[in-house]
Symmetry: D3
Subunit: 236 residues, 6 copies
Amino acid sequence: MNITIKISGKFFDQLLYNRNPEDYVTRLRDMIFSLTSEGHRIFLVVGGGEIARNYISIGRKLNLNEFSLDIIGIYASRLNAVLLSYLLNDDTYPLVPTDMEDFLQAFSNKNNKVIVIGGLQPGQSTSGVAALIAESTRSEYLIDCTNVDGIYDKDPSKNNDAKILSSVNVKELEKILSNVQGVNAGTYELIDPLAIKIIKRARIKTFVIHFNDIDKIPFLVRGKLKIGSEILVSSY
Amino acid sequence: MNITIKISGKFFDQLLYNRNPEDYVTRLRDMIFSLTSEGHRIFLVVGGGEIARNYISIGRKLNLNEFSLDIIGIYASRLNAVLLSYLLNDDTYPLVPTDMEDFLQAFSNKNNKVIVIGGLQPGQSTSGVAALIAESTRSEYLIDCTNVDGIYDKDPSKNNDAKILSSVNVKELEKILSNVQGVNAGTYELIDPLAIKIIKRARIKTFVIHFNDIDKIPFLVRGKLKIGSEILVSSY
Amino acid sequence: MNITIKISGKFFDQLLYNRNPEDYVTRLRDMIFSLTSEGHRIFLVVGGGEIARNYISIGRKLNLNEFSLDIIGIYASRLNAVLLSYLLNDDTYPLVPTDMEDFLQAFSNKNNKVIVIGGLQPGQSTSGVAALIAESTRSEYLIDCTNVDGIYDKDPSKNNDAKILSSVNVKELEKILSNVQGVNAGTYELIDPLAIKIIKRARIKTFVIHFNDIDKIPFLVRGKLKIGSEILVSSY
Amino acid sequence: MNITIKISGKFFDQLLYNRNPEDYVTRLRDMIFSLTSEGHRIFLVVGGGEIARNYISIGRKLNLNEFSLDIIGIYASRLNAVLLSYLLNDDTYPLVPTDMEDFLQAFSNKNNKVIVIGGLQPGQSTSGVAALIAESTRSEYLIDCTNVDGIYDKDPSKNNDAKILSSVNVKELEKILSNVQGVNAGTYELIDPLAIKIIKRARIKTFVIHFNDIDKIPFLVRGKLKIGSEILVSSY
Amino acid sequence: MNITIKISGKFFDQLLYNRNPEDYVTRLRDMIFSLTSEGHRIFLVVGGGEIARNYISIGRKLNLNEFSLDIIGIYASRLNAVLLSYLLNDDTYPLVPTDMEDFLQAFSNKNNKVIVIGGLQPGQSTSGVAALIAESTRSEYLIDCTNVDGIYDKDPSKNNDAKILSSVNVKELEKILSNVQGVNAGTYELIDPLAIKIIKRARIKTFVIHFNDIDKIPFLVRGKLKIGSEILVSSY
Amino acid sequence: MNITIKISGKFFDQLLYNRNPEDYVTRLRDMIFSLTSEGHRIFLVVGGGEIARNYISIGRKLNLNEFSLDIIGIYASRLNAVLLSYLLNDDTYPLVPTDMEDFLQAFSNKNNKVIVIGGLQPGQSTSGVAALIAESTRSEYLIDCTNVDGIYDKDPSKNNDAKILSSVNVKELEKILSNVQGVNAGTYELIDPLAIKIIKRARIKTFVIHFNDIDKIPFLVRGKLKIGSEILVSSY
C-alpha cells in the first residue's frame, strides 16, 4: 500500500543541533526500510523548520509580502527534502519534485519506493501538500509527525488543562482549529484548511503523532499500536 | 498598475451557446484595450464552466476521486484560457501558464500586457488562483466576475429575501460562506478559503461583480463607478 | 507487443451525452485490461470531438487563424485524454504528454502499460500523431477507431453506393483521400497525409474500425476476427 | 513586420568547407541587421545539411527506422541553428527552441529580434517547420533559401529542359511536387506537404530563392526586386 | 554594460545573525539601484554560507558522498538567492535559474535588469558559476565579494606576514592557490580552477573585495576607486 | 553494478568515415549487451569529435567567445549521443539528457539499463561529465575510451621516448597534465581538472584505454584482463 508521512521541519532542527544526528537518521531509515521491504511505497513531505522561520523573519522585517515569504519557506523545505532524500537508500527518487506534475511523474515510476517532497505553492502549508499527495497516491494512511503528541482539545501552549484526544471527528477538529489559527502560519503548527478539506473528501485515515515516535509507524500501520490522535472521517 | 480579473466559467457558456459571441468578445476586448492602453497590465484567471461540470459529472458517475475530478476541471479551464488568450490582441502571452513558476516567468516579461491562466492545482478553485496571482503581481485590484450581481447576505438560490451587499467585511464574508459552502465545489460559486486567506493577508482591494458588467471594469478601477460588492479588508 | 489505438473524439461525445457512460467505459477498460494482462502495452491517442468543434467554430467566427484553431483543438483533445487516463487503471501514466519528448520519457518507463495522449502540434491531426506514436514505439498494430465502419471507396456522406473496403492498398487510399479532403479539417474524418506517410515508411499494420467495435480489438490483434478495413503497405 | 526565412542545410555545407566563411556570414549578418534596424523581426529556420545526410546514412545502413533517422536529422539541424544564433548579434535569442511552446515563449519576448530554430518533430521537414513558424508569428513573408534558383516546372536534376517559374499557383505546385517527391526525404529538396498545407490556409506570401541571393532579401521584402519563384495563394 | 557580482554566503550569515539586517540590505539595494539606473545589468551569484556548511557537515557525518553534499550546498545557495531576489526591486527576475539554459532565457529578457542565481552543478563552486555567468553575458566586470579584503600572497589564516596584493597576475594566482586549496571545499574560500580557467580565456576584468565594501562597487566600475585585488589577465 | 564509459568523439569519426561502420557498432553493441545481460547498468558519455572541431573552428575564425564554442561542442556531442542511443537496444533511454537533473530522472528509472549523454555545460570537457556521472551513479568503474593506448609519461605527440604507464597515481597524473594542457581544449585530449577532482574525491576506479579495445571492457571489469592505464587513487 501507499503511505504518506509528513515530517515537521522541527525534526530537522533536532537533526542539525543534536550531538547524535545518526540516531535520528537511523531510526528514520529503519522505519522506512521496514515498510518498503514489505512492498509499501512511502511519500515523505517535509517542512522548513527553524531555517524557514529565520529566513521568513528576516524577510518580514524587510517588508516582503506573504507570497514572497511563502516562497522562501518552500525553498527551505526543499533544502530539508534534498538532505533527507540523500540520507535514505537507493530506492529513493534522487530529485525533489517541485510541482504536482513532477511528483506524479516520479510516482508513475514504481522503482521509486520513496519520494521526498517539500512545499509546492504559496498559500498552503506542507500539511496541505501532504494531504494532496496522500489523495493523489490513494494512500491508505496519512501520518503527520509533528512536535506535539497529538491533537489537544485546546491550544496546549495557552491552556494548562488541554487534554490530548486519542481520536477526533474531523468536524470537531475544524472547531478546535478555528479557535487557534491565525492568518499567518507558525505559532501552533497543525493541519491547515486545505489538509482538512482533502482529508474529508478523500476519507484518508489520518494520524497526528510526535516525530519522536517515528519508529513506531510500522506498528501503527499494521494496527499493532495506537499512538497520537486519529482523525475520524467515516461518520461525516 | 496591475489588475487581476477572474472570469467565471459561465461567461464561456454564454460565449459558446449565444448567437452573437462577437458581442461578448468585443466588450471584453474593448475593456482590456482600454486598460492596457493606459499602461496597466491585466491578469485574467478563467474557470471551467459547463464543460468542466459535464466532464466532472461523468467522472463522478464513474467513481473517480476528487483529486482526479479537480485535474479534469483544471484542463477544462485551460481550454477556456487558450481560447480567450487567442481572442485578445498581440500583447497577450501566447501560452497558458500551468504553474506559478510559469506564470512568474511570463510576468517578468513586461511585453506581456495580458496573461490568461486557468486552474493550477487540485484542492483550490480558480478564485484561489486569482487571489494568488493578484498577490504575486501586487495587483491593486482583484475583480471577480461571476454569474451573480455581488455578494448576498444569504444563499440567493434558497432565500427569496437575500439581499446584495454593496460592501462586506472579510470576517462577515467568512461567516456567510461557512453557511453555504460544501466540501465539493459547484452549487453556489463564490470565493474559496484560499482566496479569503490571501485577500486578507495581502489586503487586496476586491470586487465581486456580474460578468455582464465586464465592460464597466475600467470605470470601476478609475473610481468613477461602484458596482457589485466590495470586500473590505482594511479594518481587520 | 505494443499497440497504438486512435480513438475518435466522437467516442467522447457518446460518453458525454449517453445515459449509460458506464457501458462505454467498461467495454474500453475490459479491452485494455485484456491486452495489458497478456503483457502488451497500449498507447491511446484521442481526438477532440464535439467540444473541439464548438470551440473552433467560435474561434473561426471571431477570425482566429488556423494555427490558433489547431491549438484550441489540441487543448480539447487533452481534456478528453486526461478524462480517459483517469478512467483506466493504475498502470496508466497519470499525465498527458504534450510533446514527443514527454511521450518518449513516459514510454521508457515500462511501468506505464497504458499512455493516453491528445494532439501535439498545429498542422497535424490526431491520426498523424497516432502514426508517429506507433512508429516511435514500433507498435505492431495501429488501430484507428472512428465513427465509420471502415474505409469506403467514395465519400459515403455524398454517395449512396459507396462500398466499404475490407482491405485497401495505401496507394489507392491516397487516391480516395485526394478526392474527399479539403484544407480545413472536419467534414470527412479520416487519415491525414502525415499518417499516410508514416504508415507507408514504417509499414505499420493498420486497421480502421468503428469505435463501437472497440471491444473486439483483442480478437483483431490475435488474428481471430477481421473487422473494418485493413490498410495494406507490404506491396508498395 | 515579421519575416520567416528558411535556410537550407546546404548553406552550412558552404560555410564549413569554404575558404572564406566570413563572406557568407557577413552577408547574412548584414541582411539581418538591415531588416532588424527597420524594426522587423526575423525567424530563421535551418536545415541539417551534409552532416544530417552523413549521420542519417550511417543510421540507415545500420537499420534504424525513419523515426530515429528524423530525430538524428533534427539534432543536426539544431547544431547548425546554435552556430548561426551565436554568429548573429545581441538581439538574437541565445537558445534554440526545441518545440512550438519554447518558440512561442521566445517569440512573446519582443527583445528577441531574431530567433533561430532547427527541426521540431519527426515526420516533417524544416520547410514544414518554417511554414508553421510563419503562420504562428503572422509573418508577412516566408522566404525559402534553398540550393536552386527557384521552382522548376520539372525535376531539374532529371530534365534538361526544366524551366524556372517566376510564380506558381499553389495547386500547380502540388502537381509538380507529386511527380518528384518520394517517401524518404533528400533527393530533390523542396517544400513538403505540411508546408504546402500551411501556406495555403494561412495565405502566406512565399518565395523560393537560392541561398546565394540571401543578401537580396531586404530588397525583396521592400518590393524593390523580384528573384526566385513566388508561390501564389490568392486565387485558390 | 553587464556586471557580474559574486556574493559570498558569509554575507548572508551576517544578514541572518545581525541585529540590523536592514543596513546590509539597504546598502546592497542602493548599490544595485545606482548601477541599474545608469542602464547597467547586474547578475548576482550567491553562495550557501553557514547553512550550507551545517547541512553539509550533517551529511558528511552520515557518509553522504561529495556529489550529494554539493547538491545540498546548491540548494542552500538557492535559498539565499531567492531571499535576495525578493529583497531587490521590481526589475529583478522573480525566479532563481537552476541551469545555464534557464539563466540564458532570463538573460534574453532585457526587462530583467537584475538576475540572482545560486549554484548550478556538483563539482564547481559558486565562483566558477560566477565566471561562467560573466563570460556568457560578456560582463565587463566580475566582482567577487568575499570575507577577506583581497588576495593574499600566502594563506592569511596560517601566515601572520601574509600581505594583500593590489593586483595579481592570473598565473601567479594559480601558484598561490595551488599551495592553499584542498580537494574538499571550505577552508580558505577563493576562486576555483573553473573560475580561473574562464577568467583567463575570456579575459574578464576581475576584482576580489570584502563584502563589507559592497557599496563601493559603483565607484569601482566607474574607475573612481581602487579596492581589494585585481586579477590581471592581459599579459598572459 | 554501474559502469560509466566515456567514448571519445574520435570513435564517431571512425564510424562516419569507415567503410564498415557495422563492425564498430557490432562490437559496441555486443560489449554493452554482455554487461547488461549480467545485470549491470551502463552510462555512456560521448564527445563531439571532428564535427565539433570543424564547427568550433568556424566559430573561432568568426570571433565567437569560448563560452559559445563550448555550447557548439556540446550540441555536436549530443548529435553523437542520439545516434549512439538509437544504435543500441531497447533498454536504452530514448532521449539524451541535457542537464544533471534530466540524467538523474532517467537514472531513477531502472528500466533504463543504458543511458547515453553528451556534454552538459560550458567550461567542462566530456571527461568531466563522465566523472560526475560516475560519482552520481556510484559507478564502480569509469572507463575512458580515447584515441591513445593509455596515459604516457610525456606528451607522445612531442616526445618520441614517451612511455605508456600501466598505472599512475592521481597526483603524478596531475603533474603530467600540467605540462601538456593549454587553456583551450583540443590538442592532447585527456582528463580535465574537473575529472581529476571528482576521481580523487570519489575514489573511482578509472581506466584509460584505446577505443579500439572497447570490446575488452567486459573482461576488464571482471578483472580478467589488464589494458590501458589505471589511475590509482587509493594512496592519496
